[in-house]
Structures are given as structure tokens and as C-alpha cells.
Symmetry: C2
Subunit: 82 residues, 2 copies
Amino acid sequence: PDWKLIEEEGVQKLERQFSFPDFVAAMAFTGKVAALAEAEGHHPALLTEWGKVTVTWWSHKLRGLHRNDFICAARTDALAND
Amino acid sequence: PDWKLIEEEGVQKLERQFSFPDFVAAMAFTGKVAALAEAEGHHPALLTEWGKVTVTWWSHKLRGLHRNDFICAARTDALAND
């Protein structure tokens, strides 16, 4: 499943679920995306569960999507393919 | 806010939101709860956002709450007070 455009409380967001063999692998990916977030100064919602991580990007101040969200989504994909 | 009893798709769960000064502090807590989860062999949903982490415990196989979920909730609180 690729990135989906979702809307929560009137705010458009980009969301994608990534699958992993177990919890440890999921958490390792969460850590990578968290490091990207800090580097970018742009922070997603990261839902970590057993075998999956759901990443949601949106621009809080704009209450919606900005070019930077699409860039961060692409960089998240690159981390998943490491 | 303390632990709330919630129901998602017919499954009872324990959920609590923890607040932090920033994203890095939130991720550090997520990491601690993840380590607890691995040690216990019991895995919550961990939603990490800027300044907050939402922890949700339930027993997947039982599709609801078991004694172990309450124990893990208490251990999560202890990690937050470290």
C-alpha cells in the first residue's frame, strides 16, 4: 500500500503503513523516521505496533499539506528501502 | 489524564496519553516502553507525536483485557516517572 491522502478533523494528511517481521524491526524503523523528523524539523505521527508502523505527515501550522510533507514522505520511503 | 478504558471494534483496551516537552523526549519514552514490551513479550500500540505519546495495551489473542495489560500499564507509568 502506498501513501494515502486522508482527512482528519478537516485536515488533509499523507499516511502510509509499513510492514515488518516483528516489533523490534518496526521500532527500528520508527527510530529512523524520528531521526529524519528531527533533522527536518518536521514531525509526523508515528504509530508503532507489532510488525507495522503507520506514518502520517502533515503541516500542523497550515492545517494541511505542504510541499515539505511530500518530500518527507519520499524520504520515509527511502528509509524503508534501506 | 490517567488510563482510560476504550473500546475499538469491539475490543476493550487501556489507553493513556503521556506529555513531553518535545519530540525527542517523546521518542525516548517510546523507546523505553518498546524495551518493556520486548522484555514482557507483550506489545502495545505506541503513537509518537510532537510532545506526546499515546500508549494502548490490550491482549490481541483474547481480543480484550487481561491481568497482564494492567501490569504493563502500571510498568509504563513507572517508566514515565523515571
